[in-house]
């Protein structure tokens, strides 16, 4: 008993949208809803993959930024710019990583206003193990193939350009 299980909630919403509003914006509505839902799916998958290492995806991103950095440390403000999140979010993220022993706060040599976040030895190890797990699972992007992934990245890049994502990187 029950309808066939091929019911797509987003396709259904699209039909309803056209019927009620009859607008040219329906494809936009479908695309936005899809991005929201896939974001939710990916976050769940990634956090699941990272759980064995005590990490969440936002913390993983912050940790990798430090992992890649020249000296293994960065000012918190710089991290906010690179990660494109608010300064207060960086404070919270680093708080968590510091509690876990993956990061240490250090004071800046010449400017006593700035705080540095420095990756620890344990942090480096966690970063490497977590990265291996994510690479192994292709960042939870099943079932997409390389071509689809590249097309996705390219389309989304156009939105990022429009939002001014490329303007933050002029080195002073």
């Amino acid at each position: 008993v029950g309808k066939p299980s091929t019911f797509d909630p987003i396709a259904e919403a699209s039909r309803q949208w056209d019927r009620h509003w009859g607008t040219a914006a329906t494809p936009s509505m479908s695309a936005v809803t899809s991005v929201m839902r896939v974001h939710q799916i990916l976050m769940a998958r990634l956090n699941g993959l990272l759980r064995p290492y005590g990490l969440t995806f936002p913390r993983y991103e912050a940790l990798m930024l430090l992992y890649y950095s020249r000296r293994g440390s960065l000012p918190l403000g710089k991290m906010g710019q690179r990660l494109q999140v608010h300064r207060t979010s960086v404070t919270n993220t680093i708080d968590g990583l510091e509690r876990q022993g993956y990061v240490e706060r250090q004071s800046h040599d010449s400017d006593r206003r700035t705080t540095l976040a420095a990756i620890t030895k344990r942090g480096r190890q966690a970063a490497e193990e977590a990265t291996a797990a994510l690479n192994e699972d292709r960042f939870g992007t099943a079932p997409l193939r390389q071509g689809e992934l590249e097309g996705l990245t390219e389309t989304l890049r156009r939105v990022r350009i429009d939002a001014g994502d490329f303007e933050n990187a002029v080195s002073s």
Copy 2:
């Protein structure tokens, strides 16, 4: 002074990933990071468009679900299934909409366990005005055209299928 402003942080991360890990998962990493970032951009745009009506995007989605419903009311649990969010999230969302006078909690006729959320007259008005604003701005999807939006929806649909998004809708 400064480098040309054509620096793409995600393309740069992609280069670094290949250099450090040399893995076939690089396109996955780029796509996931892109989805995360575009989700953030879209949320900011949508919340900006909805602010004049006192709504956020999650509240808007819940309100529209009630707007479309037969009787203008739904059990909270049903809303969680349709919106694909946790039950506790629905409780919070309805709390907010109720404070704003867009929704009222009602008791179910036959089952006293269930709570109904019912859209109010003011809620209907807000829903219509907010929808007009979102349609007008094509849900913040600039600069994408119809073909790109449809391609995006189709690619993301494959991820949703893989995550089991189509299995919730068998009517009992």
